[in-house]
């Protein structure tokens, strides 16, 4: 700064101070105006093509020559000419070189207490390498997409993310597929793809490559053990198969108007196995419409004589139903035959639970609630007089889907009013707790284990407009009353149609139907309050019911595949990691 300029600046400063009056303090002696070079974009480390130019004037807009302007980098790194002096037109210039960080780069020009800020944008340099940014090392279910996409970030030599870089993805192990075989990095420099694991248990790998950016990056994932398909046993297309009851290596297939069909799947009577079920016998009970079964092992009489069959007749779901309980004598498996029936006027039966020590059959009866039936002794003819008690519940009607005896209470899943705890004293029924606890959807099946109850929902018509179906988890309190603690939403299905827990209490299974996510679903109950998905087996036609069976020490899942192509599907789930 020349002395004359300094004096001029000093005088102007004094004049400004006097003009502002007391207490205003000293003001700037110059006015700085950006005249060129602002708002440029260039690559990091490059010198901006246009110089920064600032004009210095006095308060009266007269150009000030010989004024020293100080330049400072205030953001984004890099350099700028430290200082320059205004010419006769009051103009001072500086050269800006960007730093290595992409983004906004700022520099300040300052003179006589006044300043202006120049802004530039630093682009990333050419990409030099890729870096993994998400998704590596995951576990998933064979044949299913991983929950987290694989992601890479393209970077330049200064590790700035670079957009619009093509990345090629390729499956290198496991035989799965990627959602995108090529993708481009986004504004944050990230490109993604989602791996659908191969169908087999074991390692999967995907490489990410971009030409000229070094060696491919490898992502890894592991397909953990899942359900293994064993057999699909065709069932006559006579409304197909609705349920199956597995006990002592026999599968009692409930095949609607084709009756109940008994297969040896490991009993030994015919040499059948899960992979090769062998027909034992069949019978069509009165009226057909065979829906469900329970093979009664009577510890009092030490006999396995009676098979109870539920007939699901026509009904209007939510209000009316029909269908009897039929009793089949299976003491001679070469010649099974119907011996008795139970009829309730105005109501039809659905699922069963048996109190075998007390010889009481509990039957869900849709609009008839729950019925307790004495099945002791010999059963012949019409046994309708054997009903011990019945109970209907729910403020807006009863439509009971299923029930289960657990820890002294009878739990009932009611489509209209949710999960109930009932008491039973040798078949005398009373409502204890629950109910009115599922209003958003219609409730379907239930299973109770480990101090928790698990219920499904059936909601083809979206009771309240919500999509998907739930598996709800209920903790039973000290008195056995259910308290909802968790739920799992399965989207793209119309119903969670059946629920069951494995005999060891560690694996939860439910079936789903009506939608692309139809099939079998398996969850670990390591934490029974919060099941964790461990596998699924999808079946587009839908699985109406699913039942566990232990054959030769191995755990299997048996499922009723809906028509067309009705079949009993058998899965080996012993290798599931739960």
């Amino acid at each position: 700064m020349r002395p004359s300029s300094a004096r001029t600046a000093t005088l102007l400063l004094l004049a400004a101070a006097l003009a502002c009056g007391e207490g205003s303090g000293p003001g700037p002696s110059h006015v700085l105006t950006i005249t060129a070079g602002d708002a440029q974009t260039d690559t990091v480390t490059h010198t901006l093509p246009a110089a920064y130019v600032v004009k210095v004037t006095d308060a009266a807009s007269a150009p000030q020559s010989g004024v020293t302007v100080t330049w400072t980098v205030t953001g984004g790194g890099g350099t700028v000419t430290p200082s320059s002096t205004t010419d006769a037109n009051g103009l001072a210039t500086a050269t800006r070189t960007l730093g290595t960080a992409a983004g906004v780069a700022t520099a300040k020009a300052e003179a006589g207490g006044a300043s202006v800020t120049f802004t530039a944008t630093a682009r990333a340099a050419a990409p030099t390498h890729l870096m993994k940014s998400a998704g590596d090392v995951q576990n998933g279910i064979p044949g299913q997409p991983l929950p987290i996409p694989f992601a890479v970030t393209a970077l330049d030599q200064y590790n700035n993310p670079v957009d619009s870089v093509p990345v090629a993805w390729a499956v290198t192990a496991g035989g799965g597929s990627v959602s995108a075989a090529s993708s481009q990095t986004d504004a944050l420099g990230v490109a993604r793809t989602t791996l659908t694991l191969g169908d087999s248990v074991g390692p999967n790998a995907v490489s990410a490559t971009s030409v000229g950016l070094g060696a491919p990056l490898s992502f890894s994932a592991t397909a953990v053990a899942g359900a293994v398909f064993i057999r699909s046993l065709a069932i006559p297309e006579n409304y197909g198969i609705h349920d199956q009851f597995i006990r002592d290596g026999l599968a009692f297939v409930c095949a609607w108007n084709s009756g109940v069909i008994i297969y040896d799947v490991g009993n030994g009577i015919r040499g059948g196995t899960p992979a090769n079920p062998i027909l034992v016998d069949s019978v069509t009970t009165t009226g057909g419409q065979v829906h469900n079964a329970w093979w009664f092992h009577n510890p009092v009489a030490s006999e396995k004589r009676y098979l109870f069959i539920g007939q699901e007749g026509p009904g209007s779901i939510g209000s009316s139903s029909s269908g009897d309980i039929h009793v089949v004598d299976v003491s001679n498996l070469d010649s099974i035959h119907q011996v008795a029936f139970f009829h309730r006027p105005g109501a039809g039966t659905h699922n069963f639970w048996m109190d075998e020590p007390n010889q009481i059959l509990y039957a869900a009866y849709y609009n008839g609630g729950v019925a307790a039936i004495d099945v002791s002794g010999t059963l012949t003819g019409d046994i309708s007089t054997r009903m011990i008690d019945s109970l209907s519940f729910g403020a807006s009607g009863t439509y009971t889907w299923g029930l289960q005896l657990y820890n002294g209470s009878l739990y009932a899943a009611d489509m209209l009013s949710g999960l109930w705890q009932l008491s039973t004293t040798l078949g005398t029924l009373a409502s204890v707790a629950g109910g009115g606890n599922e209003a958003a959807r219609f409730t379907s099946d239930l299973w109770v284990a480990n101090g928790y109850a698990y219920t499904g929902t059936w909601d083809h018509f979206r009771r309240t407009g919500l999509s998907g179906s739930l598996l709800k988890v209920w903790q039973l309190d000290a008195g056995g009353a259910p308290v909802a603690v968790d739920s799992i939403l399965v989207d793209n299905v119309g119903a969670v149609s059946d629920v069951e827990v494995s005999p060891d209490g560690k694996l939860l299974m439910f079936s789903t139907e009506s939608g692309p996510n139809s099939g079998f679903w398996f969850y670990s109950l390591a934490d029974p309050a919060h099941p964790v998905l461990r596998g699924r087996y999808l079946e587009p036609s839908g699985v109406h019911t699913a039942t566990f069976g232990t054959i030769a020490g191995k755990l299997y899942a048996f499922g009723a595949k809906n028509p067309s192509g009705a079949a009993m599907i058998i899965l080996d789930v012993s290798s599931l990691d739960y």
């Binding site: 297309e237 419409q289 007749g313 026509p314 009904g315 018509f461 407009g465 793209n492 009705a566």
Partner: protein, 410 residues
């Protein structure tokens, strides 16, 4: 429009008169029609409530007909090819319509809509004035009222599957004596499962129907009919049967047409009962033809196919339904004939007010599923036809085959 093949002795004509050919010759008439329409409605299924509307443009009822007669009309062949397989494979938007796995859309008809061999006056003068007739082939069962395709409104009534049975393999015998005609038939119970499907031949004869028709006064016709239809919705035959009844009175004379009909279908031994009451009328005036129809019909609510609220599950694997709804539909329209020959054309406009109510119980709630309990549809379009006019469809007795120039497709 007439072509004559002298050597073969075949006459092909465009109108009914052509069928009254010379004694030893074979005469034939042909006709074709189609309706181009734009349908809009605010009654759209789908669940979740909220206002929805849907507009679709379609070609419906594209039909080609060929009727041939020989032996002075004692032997006739009736053929109708329906091309809706190609024009509306996903059905015609029509809230309330149902059947053949469609719901809220009218299903497409099968390609071979009708292919019947009909004989009349089999015994000649032997039986005096009694006329014994037989019909064999694929076509209409003698039950209920005429097919809606040959009636005034474009939109099919909700009761189509309560009041007509068609596209079956049928053997029909009838006798007309004076003002009374009695018909009986056996047929296959299964309804078509696709526009290209044929009847399940192995089920032929599992169902029957009978209809008594009286004509007490000129132009006035009354009928009562009964039918047992085995497992119509389950092609293998496993489903519940339908016991059907229908009664109607029909008047057609001069420019006037009117019909009052009642129908009842009891399914699964009476577990579900569906009723219908319908009245309609039309008046042919110079250049145009206004009509009105009032209907109250019930229908089952069944599980819909996931992702497609216009289709119900087939094959069924349960006999339960989700409820019964009662549809009240008031339809009015008018068509103006603007083209006459050789191509006939009649632009039309048709409006329907539609109300839905639950009857009995069940989980189905129209408020949730449609977002409303009443709505409307409007259809505009043009009906085109050439050749012979469409006859009454659904009857094979000799005097019921006259054309419907007063009221149907122009």
């Amino acid at each position: 429009m007439r072509l004559t093949a002298a050597l073969a002795g075949i006459t092909i004509g465009a109108g009914h008169a052509a069928a009254q050919g010379r004694g030893g010759s074979v005469t034939a008439s042909w006709g074709a029609q189609a309706t181009l329409e734009l349908v809009a409605t605010n009654l759209v299924p789908g669940g979740g409530g909220g206002d929805r509307s849907l507009t679709e443009a379609r070609i419906v009822m594209p039909v080609g007909m060929l009727h041939a007669a020989a032996l002075g009309g004692r032997v006739r062949v009736l053929a109708a090819a329906h091309l809706e397989k190609y024009t509306i494979p996903n059905g015609e938007l029509a809230p309330g319509n149902w059947g053949e796995s469609f719901t809220d859309r009218r299903h497409p008809h099968t390609l071979a809509h009708e292919l019947m061999l009909v004989t009349s006056d089999l015994l000649g003068n032997v039986d005096g004035r009694v006329n014994l007739f037989l019909a064999v082939g694929k076509g209409f069962v003698p039950f209920g009222t005429d097919d809606p395709m040959s009636r005034p409104a474009v939109r099919f009534p909700v009761n189509h599957h309560l009041s007509q049975i068609l596209e079956r393999a049928v053997v029909l015998a009838g006798v007309r004596a004076g003002p009374a005609t009695l018909e009986g038939a056996v047929f296959n119970g299964d309804e078509p499962v696709a526009p290209g499907s044929w009847p399940a031949w192995d089920r032929f004869g599992d169902s029957w129907a009978a209809r008594l028709t009286l004509v007490p006064l000129p132009g006035l016709e009354a009928q009562g009919s009964l039918a047992l239809v085995q497992a119509p919705e389950n092609r293998p035959g496993a489903g519940p049967d339908d016991r059907k009844a229908s009664a109607s009175a029909r008047y057609e004379r001069g420019p006037w047409y009117g019909q009052l009909e009642w129908a009842r279908t009891a399914t699964a031994g009476g577990a579900f009962v569906f009723h219908s009451l319908l009245a309609e009328a039309a008046l042919t005036m110079p250049g145009h033809r206004p009509y009105v129809r009032i209907e109250r019909s019930e229908r089952p609510e069944e599980e819909r196919v996931f992702g497609n609220p216009f289709r119900t599950r087939r094959p069924l694997f349960e006999n339960s339904i989700f409820g019964i709804t009662r549809w009240t539909v008031v339809t009015g329209g008018d068509a103006v004939e603007v083209l006459r020959n050789p191509l006939r054309g009649a632009p039309f406009v048709e409006v329907s007010w539609i109300g839905i109510a639950r009857t009995g119980g069940g989980v189905f709630d129209p408020t949730v599923f449609y977002g409303r309990t009443h709505g409307a549809s409007i259809t505009i379009g043009v009906r085109l036809a050439a050749g012979m006019r469409m006859p009454r469809m659904g009857r094979y007795q000799p005097d019921a085959m006259h054309d419907m120039s007063a009221m149907s497709v122009p």
